[in-house]
């Protein structure tokens, strides 16, 4: 077990390094940070001076190793754009993103499960057809369009919900939450729906497919033959066996909800890490971009690591391979 985890940790570190290397290679093609830092009065000499001060004249590998060295000490530098420490910026934006991800993942999971089970159990019901068709819309419409549409209906026309921002937040010292105020709760509704729609339809279709599969299995037939109640068969046996792949997918999707809430955050001016990243890309704020990409890689690595460890615990065959 220990050897397995250590090997996995080693692999994770390699993945992080690879992500850092690739992102650094890409930064050279994003543009020149100096161009967006100086005003039109700046002379060529001023720009050269600034480039030198930012260390942009150093060869690529020197910049890369400097970044890695600092990152290992928890130093991600100062944002070119906002002139604040990057680690602090990301930490201050993280609560907004995590709260949004949490609400939308819960929403996606609950609604997705319920609808998935429903459509699997009543495949011939007319409402199943409606739900399945509607879910196609959820998968195929781009996020920003859904977001703008919701804003138009619920904020501009009906004036029920706010169109942007996070509302009033309460500072708990280490975490700023929007869950404790009415405006905060109202603000999260539209972005959470927007962000969850894709995951919701994905989970629903997955649950339905798995459930239909499971319902055809022999043990369900035996259960029926034994005269067990419908409820015990459907929820006690069928649903339980459906959940394994659903949990895996949901876990991985949670990573991408946190990491790629970028579009939703931009449309709703949600002050999370995604909108921070978008604003940074526009002006080639390399320290923020690098730290953000490392952060995203870290989230995926951690989730994968947990999933792997869970597999290890669940699946005895892996244990044998590990012991060899």
């Amino acid at each position: 077990m220990l050897a397995f985890i250590i090997r996995r940790l080693g692999q994770s570190a390699l993945v992080m390094l690879a992500v850092a290397l690739i992102s650094f290679l890409m930064f050279r093609y994003v543009g020149d940070p100096v161009a967006s830092l100086v005003s039109q009065e700046a002379t060529m000499a001023d720009q050269a001076l600034l480039r030198e001060r930012l260390g942009l004249n150093d060869p690529f590998y020197v910049q890369f190793f400097r970044f890695i060295g600092n990152a290992l000490q928890g130093q991600f530098g100062i944002s070119y754009r906002l002139q604040q420490p990057v680690a602090e910026l990301i930490m201050s934006r993280l609560p907004a993103t995590i709260e949004l991800a949490f609400v939308s993942a819960t929403l996606a999971l609950t609604v997705g499960l319920v609808l998935g089970v429903f459509t699997a159990l009543r495949p011939k019901n007319w409402s199943t057809g409606v739900i399945m068709t509607a879910s196609l819309v959820g998968v195929s419409l781009p996020t920003f369009l859904i977001g703008i549409g919701l804003i138009y209906v619920f904020a501009v026309e009906l004036k029920w919900l706010p169109s942007f921002g996070r509302g009033q937040v309460v500072d708990l010292g280490w975490w700023r939450t929007g869950f404790l105020t009415e405006s905060g709760l109202r603000s999260i509704i539209l972005p959470a729906i927007t962000l969850s729609l894709f995951q919701m339809t994905l989970i629903m279709r997955l649950v339905r497919a798995e459930m239909l599969e499971v319902l055809r299995q022999d043990y369900i037939k035996f259960a029926r033959a034994r005269g067990l109640s419908k409820r015990a068969i459907n929820f006690g046996h069928a649903l339980k066996n459906t959940l394994v792949p659903v949990i895996t997918i949901t876990g991985l999707q949670l990573g991408s909800v946190i990491a790629f809430a970028i579009i939703t955050e931009t449309v709703f001016q949600w002050p999370g890490v995604g909108s921070l990243f978008v604003n940074s890309v526009a002006v080639v704020d390399v320290p923020v971009m690098a730290a953000y990409l490392m952060f995203v890689a870290f989230i995926f690595v951690v989730i994968n690591l947990i999933v792997d460890i869970l597999y290890f615990i669940v699946d005895p065959r892996l244990r044998v391979a590990g012991g060899r």
């Binding site: 161009a35 700046a42 002379t43 001076l49 100062i78 002139q83 921002g165 309460v170 921070l276 604003n279």
Partner: protein, 528 residues
């Protein structure tokens, strides 16, 4: 646990109080980006200056026509016996937000900080040799030579308190190499009409009127500043009543908003000209020009004249800009000294004459070139370029469009790795010399011609441009400015298209006049 709960309750209570304190004099002001920093000298950027103008003050600023007006300085003049010294007489009885008195020492300190190495404002103060306090309310600025127009450069240079800066270790501007941020990035102590109450970067900032401010109390006593990046969301927030003023209105929404009940639009010319430029001289390595047997078609003024005749600026105004631009044929907006209606006037588009000129120049069959344009910098920049591609196609010039975000466009432009490009140019000093120094003078290492992308070079013009810097006889100076423009126009150095128009949208009981530098002060807001 109990403590946390009490904390939450207190925070909730505080937020309730905040909400109820808001009265009719509160204005919720939205624009596309937040101020980057509160440090007054570290960024030379419009939205940052705009925000900081509410907290800090400058010696002089500009009124709605672009003319200089007194702010912290009440009078300014060239010293009688020495034309290299500017004297600023300072306003008396001015207090900083922290209660400190505003004195000449603060001005000396701030100007020295603004021209220090880490400052992004230093280019505007490059000619200063020394700043000295004569007495508590008089400052003398020793320039390297006669600098008759220097006061134009101080309109965005904010004055900080010397004692406060020293106490908080912000004598120097943010150093990117340092491990931590400068105190002044997030904390302020200015003399401005508003005090910073709350700041959450990219989310919201709250400013409240400074009771001890020297000027009359403005109608707006509280400002809630809300950056909203997405244009559609920004407009939706105004329609839904969540904001009162939207500063950056997308052109395609102007008509619709103007027709919406309860909302009105204020428009006015912006200090920014959109133009196309050419790369002159021998073809560069990797040139995109083909079909000319190795010659540079842009060196033939007939080609340039033909292009000028082929571009239909009125069509661009109506179709691309939806009426929101002011066509021009000279590279400066009307507020700039040296502007005349004659220079501004455009010839009527004449394709026939343009084709004749192309034939005369030996390009009856046209040629090919790539046009470099930014796509996120100016209003509809990419669409303007597309329109021009079509118009030039009619006289046989086959233009390929290369459109990039400004972060990638800028390095290409600054290295002159382009043959034909789109750029916008604002004139913060409101003086033609600024255009000549940046765009027309031969590119050199001492900071002249930095944006002379096309490498235009005319020694005669260069000499005249340099002479402008030290001319104190303003009438003679204007004559030289006119001569330079005449030459620039005759050489068709620029293909000017239009001046941008600013549009602010607001509730119809509010009036916020458009500021030519796009730096409106909320003190200028009036309620009905």
């Amino acid at each position: 646990m109990k403590k946390t709960l009490t904390g939450i309750a207190a925070a909730l209570l505080a937020s309730c109080v905040l909400v109820s304190a808001a009265s009719a004099e509160t204005v919720r002001w939205a624009r596309s980006t937040d101020a980057l920093t509160l440090d007054p000298h570290s960024q030379n950027q419009g939205p940052t200056h705009n925000f900081n103008h509410h907290i800090y003050e400058t010696l002089l600023d500009r009124d709605l026509t672009g003319a200089l007006q007194p702010r912290l300085a009440t009078d300014w003049y060239i010293k009688e016996d020495d034309d290299t010294v500017w004297v600023f007489e300072l306003r008396q009885g001015v207090k900083f937000h922290g209660g400190e008195d505003f004195t000449a020492e603060d001005v000396v300190f701030s100007l020295d900080r603004a021209r220090s190495e880490g400052s992004n404002m230093r280019q505007l103060h490059g000619d200063i040799v020394e700043v000295r306090a004569v007495d508590d309310h008089t400052v003398e600025i020793q320039m390297a030579g006669p600098s008759p127009l220097y006061p134009n450069n101080v309109t965005n240079t904010f004055i900080m308190d010397k004692g406060w800066s020293e106490a908080n270790d912000v004598v120097d501007v943010q150093d990117f190499g340092a491990g931590e941020d400068n105190y002044a990035v997030r904390n302020t102590n200015g003399t401005g009409p508003y005090v910073l109450v709350e700041r959450d970067p990219d989310v919201r900032s709250v400013l409240r009127h400074f009771e001890d401010h020297w000027d009359e109390t403005p109608e707006v006593t509280e400002i809630i500043y809300l950056p909203i990046a997405d244009a559609a969301t920004r407009v939706a927030a105004l329609l839904s009543g969540e904001v009162d003023i939207v500063q950056d209105v997308p052109v395609q929404d102007i008509e619709r908003l103007a027709g919406t009940d309860g909302i009105k639009i204020e428009t006015g010319p912006e200090n920014r000209t959109i133009y196309f430029g050419y790369r002159f001289g021998d073809l560069r390595e990797g040139t995109s020009i083909s079909g000319t047997d190795g010659a540079n078609p842009f060196d033939d003024v007939r080609v340039l004249e033909a292009m000028n005749l082929a571009v239909d600026r009125e069509a661009i105004r109506q179709v691309v800009m939806r009426g929101q631009s002011i066509p021009t044929c000279v590279n400066m907006p009307p507020f700039v000294s040296g502007w005349t209606p004659e220079l501004d006037a455009c010839p009527a588009p004449d394709l026939e004459r343009a084709r004749e000129l192309m034939a005369e120049a030996g390009y009856a069959d046209g040629f090919s070139v790539t046009l470099d344009t930014p796509n996120d910098r100016y209003i509809n920049d990419e669409a303007i370029a597309q329109a021009v591609v079509g118009m030039l196609g009619q006289i046989g010039i086959d233009v390929t469009l290369a459109s990039r975000p400004v972060a990638q466009h800028s390095p290409i432009i600054l290295n002159s790795d382009t043959d034909f490009y789109l750029l916008g140019w604002g004139v913060p000093t409101f003086d033609s010399a600024y255009n000549f120094n940046g765009l027309v003078h031969t590119k050199n290492d001492s900071g002249l011609g930095t944006y002379n992308i096309g490498l235009y070079s005319n020694p005669d013009v260069d000499a005249k441009i340099v002479s402008l810097g030290t001319m104190t006889d303003l009438e003679a100076r204007d004559a030289v400015i006119a001569e330079i423009w005449e030459q620039v126009q005759a050489d068709h150095v620029f293909l000017s298209i239009h001046n941008q128009v600013l549009a602010y949208a607001m509730r119809d009981n509010i009036t916020l006049p458009v500021h030519p530098e796009n730096q409106p002060l909320m003190t200028s807001v009036t309620f009905e």
